[in-house]
């Protein structure tokens, strides 16, 4: 073990040596003239100066990801398909399904009765985007958002799909989006973690979220997401214990750091230094956090915007408000998860309750950022890990139905941060089952998000187990149609 750490350190210092020597040695000037990059390496496998900065002028500086965990149905939200209502109860043509694999929940079904939306659709804003009556407040900001109707993913079950969405791979060992941002762009506010995670749970059928979704993967553990508690005290044990003042705390941390340094000198385990940094972060958070999490001073009109739940800790609305405050204070990536969208049955009712939780607060967050002049530099993403089927799961009953998982096409929306406002991007076929035009797969989505943050997705890499990894792995194209 110790030996491996030692080798790792040798490796790093050797690379640094070559990197630095290149600048100074004049005799190599001719060589570098001919091949300008020969001595530079590409600087991506060792933490060096290009990290911590956008590569080119970013449109977005921060991201708030409103992850609707469980997969909200596109047919009841953003993908208006009147044909499904017309053909209600008829079987989905085999030619449309085209051999799509099914989950274990509908695999035994012999019929796939098409199901139209329980909720009505209307066109909104100057863009004329179709948005269902389920989301009246989001509909009001139709001209501020960019709806993508052709998201598609590889996975058909929650865990792999969510892991894919968050980390770019279905297996759970890669760094999460937020960790990549923290690694690539660093922290804006040194007193707060660059990657924060807020959890809430709706009343619909829920699916779990696990810490692997906000993991640092193989990156340094300072990049992992910090989960806030859903209680009244979002960050526990932040106050000094009775009888301990700031100076005592400082002295304690300094001594602890010395002890840790001894440990590090012996084993060279980089995790020890990560730990020291985390202690220091917690120390700085003691000053920065209280003013952030204090919601008591929020004025009445803010409460009316986000809805009264926004002062009840642990609700989606409270998390949306906290997300705004964190983002405003320079947190690079705020990740929300709202559970409860997995409507396999009783969909109209469950989605109704879920929408009550998120509609007002999601729209409020975007409006709130906009009125503070922050929407231009903050990318807000709203959506789930996949979509739902256009046919009914289980027996066909027109008023109460469920939908199974569907990976081939689903809808999300983004706002701000250099996305094109008032846009509806991509088209699905009449059945809403397949992408008809302008597909956006998860890798493309990641590439586009990184581009908005001023990063070429092919260049933000980390060398691990002998190869360079990226968030987009080996694919992904920036989608120009989504950019303002």
């Amino acid at each position: 073990m110790g030996n491996e750490f030692f080798k790792n350190r040798l490796n790093i210092t050797r690379r640094h040596f070559f990197g630095k020597a290149a600048a100074g040695i004049g005799g190599l000037a001719l060589g570098s003239l001919l091949i300008p990059k020969i001595w530079k390496g590409d600087g991506t496998d060792v933490v060096s100066s290009p990290l911590g900065l956008a590569q080119y002028a970013p449109k977005a500086k921060r991201i708030i990801y409103l992850c609707q965990n469980g997969a909200p149905s596109q047919y009841e939200t953003f993908d208006y398909k009147p044909l499904l209502t017309k053909m209600m109860g008829q079987d989905l043509p085999e030619s449309i399904r085209g051999g799509q694999r099914l989950t274990g929940m509908t695999a035994s079904q012999t019929k796939f009765p098409l199901m139209g939306s329980y909720y009505n659709f209307r066109q909104h804003g100057q863009s004329g985007a179709y948005i269902s009556d389920l989301l009246p407040n989001i509909a009001k900001i139709a001209d501020d958002i960019c709806i993508v109707r052709t998201m598609n993913t590889d996975a058909i079950n929650h865990d792999p799909a969510l892991t894919f969405l968050q980390t770019g791979a279905q297996v759970g060992n890669r760094p999460s989006m937020g960790a990549w941002m923290s690694y690539g762009l660093g922290s804006e506010n040194k007193n707060l973690p660059a990657f924060c995670v807020l959890l809430s749970r709706g009343r619909g059928n829920g699916q779990g979220v696990y810490s692997k979704l906000w993991t640092n993967g193989f990156l340094d553990s300072t990049h992992q997401g910090v989960v806030f508690s859903s209680s009244e005290d979002p960050i526990l044990y932040l106050n000094d214990a009775e009888g301990i003042d700031k100076q005592d705390r400082r002295r304690m941390l300094d001594h602890l750091a010395e002890l840790n340094q001894l440990g590090f000198d012996e084993s060279g385990d980089p995790e020890i230094q990560a730990k020291v940094q985390q202690y220091e972060m917690a120390y700085r958070m003691q000053t920065a956090v209280p003013e952030l999490t204090d919601l008591s001073k929020e004025p009445d009109h803010i409460i009316k915007m986000y809805g009264p739940d926004c002062l009840v800790p642990g609700t989606y609305a409270a998390n949306a408000l906290l997300a705004r405050k964190l983002s405003e204070s320079g947190v690079r990536f705020v990740q929300l998860y709202h559970q409860g969208w997995d409507s396999h049955g009783n969909l109209p009712n469950e989605m109704g309750m879920q929408a009550q939780d998120v509609d007002r607060a999601s729209a409020a967050l975007i409006t709130d950022l906009k009125q503070r002049g922050l929407l231009d530099e903050t990318l807000v993403i709203w959506g789930g890990e996949f979509g739902r089927t256009n046919y009914c799961q289980g027996n066909f009953t027109p008023d109460n139905y469920g939908r199974d998982h569907h990976p081939r096409a689903y809808s999300i929306f983004m706002a701000g941060g250099g996305t094109k406002p008032g846009t509806v991007y991509g088209e699905t076929d009449e059945f809403g089952y397949n992408v008809a035009k302008d597909p956006v797969n998860i890798h493309d989505f990641h590439a586009t998000v990184l581009h908005l943050m001023g990063i070429n997705h092919e260049q933000l890499t980390y060398k691990h187990l002998g190869r360079r990894y990226r968030l987009t792995d080996v694919s992904g194209n920036v989608i120009p149609g989504l950019l303002a």
């Binding site: 900065l53 700085r284 008591s296 009264p308 320079g330 409006t367 009125q371 503070r372 001023g454």
Partner: protein, 727 residues
């Protein structure tokens, strides 16, 4: 080894060589009939290895001449002959192995033919040189020339071989600039944008100006139209008579299949597109959008050219140079982050954090990077009017955020010198319209102003929108008249058994809300008739508390309902006078006074919060060491008709100062459920006549007759008790 032995070895070698060459010739002429056993295929695979021998030896050969003088003629003769033999032998074996290898499929035939003949030429060349040299028919100089010719032939054969393995343009590829492929759009001509690029990728490498296989040249439109040996490439409108598509559809193994086996094949999508194009008349100038949508041409094109147009990354030039690393470090502090906007530009952004740690000198200090600062975020910092003058030192400032600072607006004119200001955020400040307008006039580049939550009237903003049409005025969220339902009060209590001092406490997270409650079973806590909490609620005994919240401008909340159990006294001991059912013993008699609320069974397993009686009535005696003035008792029991658990038929309370002198003082009959039902904890208050006693007996009798809906009437009804409380 003497000379004779050596030369006999040479003659054996020579015979072997001639045998190899004969075999080679034979195989060459009867190529079509050759069927190689697998072992020979294995030899073939060794071709790439052993080919290095004739190359090395062949190159060595002319160098042997350097030894001619130092060694003398004879030794030179022997050395040259030795190396020559080895060269000729290895060349022949290499050629033979090469032949074996060539029998495997997948090689570009044209390259193969060249390499084969060049290789044979090498082998023959060395054989010839060897025979001539052996018979002394050439002088050393001629032998030198011969060995040089050998090197030349080796180079040719080697190059030919390398072309097969590495590709034809391997040597020179970095000299040729990569051709830019532009993704076609709806506006592009289909032929130019998509058809020609496909043909170029898949056909032109064999049908071009240099190489016109089948007398077909596809390097330009005009030449394509001339067709080849077998006629025209396509027939407009008729896919089946279009030669190039016919060839594409032949089986891969077919000799005439195009592109030939081993070459990059057309993909199904490409064939689909080519067919659609021919069917629609093989037009050379029709735009993609002009094709009928049903053909889905644009979809195919989009799929084929998935490489999106390269993303343009606009690079802004700034009229100043980057700040030094040391200056950058000097202005950074834990509460002020100053960082480059991106690594390719000198522009800096400064963000201030944590209001209570704000220091004016940090802002003053920014003068070190005054030229480079294009963005400053001072939101929520305690910035006062007079501090605004400090901002005049930043000539290139473009984006300024003063949201929720303490400025009154009186000194806004200080910003007039920030001529490059593009975006100004003043949300949440006390500025007025009259202060802002003169500043706006002075800022020619201003594009957006944020004045949400400032007190500037909507009418004023509307008029500005007309006067300054280039500026985006952000007014923000304007609350509508829509009344929202406020959320219900939040219960603070965590324990539902309330001791003598405990009270029911509600709170609300929104300030200015009133909480209304009622303890009356029959009433709803509407905002009119019921009590408003001014603080904690005291309850006398077991009670259901119903509460809601109201606030002017909001709709009243939903009602929250909570059940509380009150006790003033806890008995010192308790005894069971009858036997509890074995499987529902729980913690024995003390279950009745443990102040732990009954829980639902999980997975059918009985938990120890309920004590159950079935074969006997429930009878318990409670003892206090000192007599207590108990006003009443609460008995909490379970109702779960579907498991034959019913409320007691009757509960009797007996009191006294010893176990033997008990007197019945109360008797109640809990309400019996009229319908079947599941788990439902219940409780009943039993008031007692006044008096001080040490002993209290509770007797709960089972119901004697089941209601009609109970199916299994074989066993007696069950009583399950949670707690007996004394208030």
């Amino acid at each position: 080894m003497n000379k004779e032995q050596l030369s006999s070895w040479y003659s054996i070698l020579l015979s072997g060589l001639i045998f190899l060459h004969a075999l080679l010739l034979f195989l060459l002429f009867w190529q079509d009939q050759v069927n190689l056993p697998w072992a020979f295929q294995l030899f073939g695979r060794f071709h790439p290895l052993i080919l290095h021998l004739p190359i090395g030896l062949g190159v060595l050969l002319p160098f042997v001449h350097l030894l001619r003088r130092p060694l003398g003629e004879h030794a030179f003769y022997l050395s040259f002959r030795f190396v020559l033999y080895l060269t000729a032998l290895s060349a022949a074996i290499t050629a033979l192995f090469g032949f074996f290898l060539s029998q495997e499929s997948g090689f570009e035939p044209e390259l193969l033919v060249f390499h084969q003949w060049a290789g044979l030429a090498v082998a023959w060349m060395y054989l010839l040189l060897l025979i001539l040299f052996d018979r002394l028919l050439v002088n050393p100089f001629q032998a030198f020339i011969g060995s040089m010719v050998g090197v030349l032939l080796l180079s040719l054969a080697g190059h030919g071989g390398a072309n097969i393995t590495h590709g034809e343009n391997y040597l020179m590829e970095f000299w040729q600039p990569e051709k830019e492929v532009k993704a076609p759009t709806e506006e592009s001509v289909l032929f130019e944008g998509a058809i020609q690029p496909i043909l170029e990728k898949k056909c032109v490498s064999c049908h071009n100006d240099q190489k016109t296989k089948g007398q077909l040249n596809m390097s330009s439109v005009a030449k394509m139209l001339q067709g080849g040996k077998h006629g025209d490439l396509w027939k407009a409108g008729d896919v089946s008579k279009s030669l190039f598509l016919q060839r594409a559809h032949l089986p891969l193994e077919h000799k005439e299949h195009m592109p030939p086996k081993g070459k990059n094949q057309l993909t199904p999508d490409e064939i689909l597109l080519l067919e659609a194009w021919v069917k629609e008349g093989a037009s050379l100038d029709k735009k993609i959008k002009a094709y009928p949508p049903a053909l889905q041409i644009s979809k195919l094109v989009a799929r084929l050219f998935a490489i999106p147009a390269s993303i343009e990354i606009p690079k802004r030039e700034y009229p100043f140079s980057a700040a030094s690393e040391s200056d950058l470090q000097a202005v950074n502090s834990p509460f002020c982050s100053v960082y480059p906007m991106s690594s390719d530009a000198p522009a800096l952004q400064a963000d201030f954090y944590v209001a209570k740690r704000f220091e004016l000198k940090t802002l003053e200090n920014l003068s070190k990077v005054a030229d480079q600062l294009v963005g400053i975020n001072l939101a929520k910092m305690p910035i006062k009017d007079e501090n605004l003058s400090l901002l005049a030192q930043f000539p290139n400032l473009e984006k300024l955020n003063l949201n929720f600072t303490e400025i009154s607006g009186a000194n806004l004119k200080a910003l007039m010198s920030n001529k490059k200001l593009v975006s100004l955020s003043l949300s949440g400040t006390k500025i007025t319209a009259n202060q802002l307008q003169p500043l706006i006039v002075q800022l020619p580049l201003l594009k957006e102003v944020f004045i949400w939550n400032t007190g500037i009237a909507s009418e004023q903003i509307a008029s500005w929108k007309k006067t300054f049409p280039k500026i985006r005025w952000e007014e923000g969220f304007v609350p509508s008249d829509e009344k929202l339902m406020i959320n219900p009060p939040i219960l603070v209590n965590e324990n539902f058994f309330l001791g003598p001092q405990d009270k029911v406490v509600f709170k609300h997270t929104i300030q200015g809300t009133s909480i209304h409650y009622t303890l009356d079973k029959e009433k709803e806590p509407d905002s009119l008739g019921t009590l408003i909490t001014q603080g904690p609620i005291d309850i006398p005994a077991f009670t259901v508390v119903k509460a809601l919240a109201t606030k002017p401008g909001w709709l009243a909340s939903k009602v929250v309902k909570n059940t509380f159990y009150k006790y003033h006294f806890v008995p010192d001991s308790v005894y069971l006078l009858t036997q509890a059912e074995a499987k529902w013993q729980a913690k024995g008699a003390s279950t009745l006074k443990d102040l732990i609320q009954g829980k639902r069974d999980t997975r059918g397993l009985a938990n120890d919060t309920w004590i159950g009686f079935q074969q006997q009535d429930a009878d318990a005696l409670f003892e206090f060491k000192q007599a207590k003035a108990v006003k009443g008792m609460t008995v909490s029991y379970l109702r779960k008709q579907d498991s034959n658990i019913f409320p007691p038929l009757e509960i009797e309370i007996w009191v006294g100062n010893s176990a033997k002198t008990l007197k019945k003082v109360a008797s109640v009959k809990p309400e019996q459920p009229a319908e079947n039902g599941g788990y439902s904890p219940q409780a009943i208050n039993i008031p007692l006549p006044s008096g001080n006693f040490t002993h209290y007996r509770m007797l709960a009798k089972r119901i004697k007759r089941f209601p009609a809906y109970v199916k299994d009437k074989a066993n007696p009804a069950i009583i399950k008790l949670d707690e007996v409380l004394f208030y």
